[in-house]
Symmetry: C2
Subunit: 373 residues, 2 copies
Amino acid sequence: MDVTAAGPRRLTIRNVAERAQVSLGTVSNVLNRPEMVAPATRARVRAVMDELGFVRNTAAHQLRMGNSRSVSVVVHDVSNSFFTEAIRGIEDVTNDNGYVVIVSSSDASAEREKRCLRLVEEQRVLGVIITPADKDLGHLVRLQEHGTRVILLDRHGPGGGFCSVAVDDVRGGELAAAHLFSQGHRRIAMVNGPTEIRQCADRRRGVRRAARRAGFDPDTAILDVPVAALSAAGGQGAVARVLAGSPAPTGVVCANDMAAMGVLRGLREAGVRVPDDISVVGYDDIDFAAMLSPSLTSVRQPKYELGASAARLLLEEVSDATHTHREVRFDPELVVRSSSAPASDRTASAKPDSVSTNGTSRSRRTGVSRTGA
Amino acid sequence: MDVTAAGPRRLTIRNVAERAQVSLGTVSNVLNRPEMVAPATRARVRAVMDELGFVRNTAAHQLRMGNSRSVSVVVHDVSNSFFTEAIRGIEDVTNDNGYVVIVSSSDASAEREKRCLRLVEEQRVLGVIITPADKDLGHLVRLQEHGTRVILLDRHGPGGGFCSVAVDDVRGGELAAAHLFSQGHRRIAMVNGPTEIRQCADRRRGVRRAARRAGFDPDTAILDVPVAALSAAGGQGAVARVLAGSPAPTGVVCANDMAAMGVLRGLREAGVRVPDDISVVGYDDIDFAAMLSPSLTSVRQPKYELGASAARLLLEEVSDATHTHREVRFDPELVVRSSSAPASDRTASAKPDSVSTNGTSRSRRTGVSRTGA
DNA sequence: TTGAAAGCGCTAACAG
DNA sequence: CTGTTAGCGCTTTCAA
């Protein structure tokens, strides 16, 4: 009745060989070097494979060849949209090369990360693309020494021990703030998370750099408004401090869009109009940024490209013997919408929504800095 | 200089055996049946493993044992938040059992799906948890016959050929509409996608059922407002048709939150107040539903639980010889926020945000209907 | 061009 | 309790 139970013995190349009246070696050859097999034989073998529904057993292949057809991705949380899009990028480039993607979430815990890496090391994956949970990269060095290639995702490779891909958060912060300064704002608040988080520290540095480049003293042009968590609640709670600033800021840069949403809401409740009274810029350009009212000006990161690029780096590291570790850094892009406007503009905004800064590609790779080795 | 290159020959249990002065078999035993090994020997072997950094080669293990330590997930798009959370659920339960998760995106294309499944079949995964791209499940039947277990995700198992997990979309539609009817609304619009999509058809059925149960004729109580795509733009474009309805609806049920966001925006532009003039209910309860103004009443699906449950089903199918295919169906939950209010309530809403319907668990499994086999 | 045979690293059955 | 051994399915010389 139940055909499913335990599954009928899986097919092997031996079965195929018998059925096709050839030897094992021949079947293997049509699989791996088809050009070495006489067309007629090849066709017959192929026909038998299709007929039987034969699928090569990767375990045996892998055991023989020494490496598997899989790459591993270890990120903080596979359900976080930043990683999720990067994973899609990884998947698209690795699948094209016959590799399969194994994902795991470390929950940013060094403990869990170690467990994931063990599981993954057992699989003898080609390599692992990882956003490390731990500041200390020692275990990754060891992993690499044991033969698992490591690519850092959204993290800079210190001293060139690894290849890495990252987006330039300093530049992102700078873009956001420079946009406001160029619109005539002279004092802006920055709603930021803890600067222990690299991204937060970098974005802040960028904001300050923008101030400097616009000819202002960062210490007076920038009002730091730190929040414990970059959430909507955090952003909303920051509004009072923004408005209490003296002199009052006419623009706010938020370190992510969730916080920006909170700020928008807080501002509305306080009766402050955006962008008429104050401009708001977010960071991440999440799907819904465009849907808010007013629609949110934000900094977009090339997440998909980040992942695709990491995968390419891994593939390259495998195939190219002369490979040398390097970092690929991407520039974020500012997407201007209606939450930001010139500082002097006190009329109700007649500005259209969703105007992109420029027409260039959404994810341009800017710098390839060579390091190490 | 470069220790990394090509990686030093990988460690095997033979290396461990030599170093620990025991035989291969003993090392294997401490790995698989530690209780059979004398404590002293066991400790020594373990020490050597740690010292050397030995990690068991899954390929060999797998070749010997016949099955791998991995499960596969094939969904339309791994970067879609619905799947993303389900994947996290799958990951959490499978990881606990030492399995690793392989993800692939089919882009809802039967073509790509086939490719994914081939890749995955080569891996001899324990089983595949899949949201089929194709109406025709023939290839999945064949896959199962060849020994790869199959669990359907967000799809009902026709005739019981598979285990499946799904959330009851009819019930979801009913929840949304019943909420409005219970608030005194007597005519509501439904902004829905093409009913060729199973989810859309089901949600519509639920809405109509709610009307019937509230004592109305669905054909007059429900105004169908179909849109080509359940996007924000689609929702916004539907507003004119909603407002043109006669008699005018006092409530709108949207088949997803993106459409609801569009409706909200369109309504605001038309000068119609929510919920004062008209109530709006969404579907999916995406992260940002709570952040909108007004915050959006929506139907939440237990995505994480859906995935976790699928994984459990798979594990059970593997371990339990007497296993019989079945469907686990989850009930969605209505989350009431401030975009919906009683039909007669024409005062500015003083209703607090984020009031959940009830205090019960967020993802209660309601029905386990046995089918087939 | 095709066939035979030797392992890849591990597990499990069996003998010491 | 420990050691020896025969494969799991596949790739790849090497000989025919």
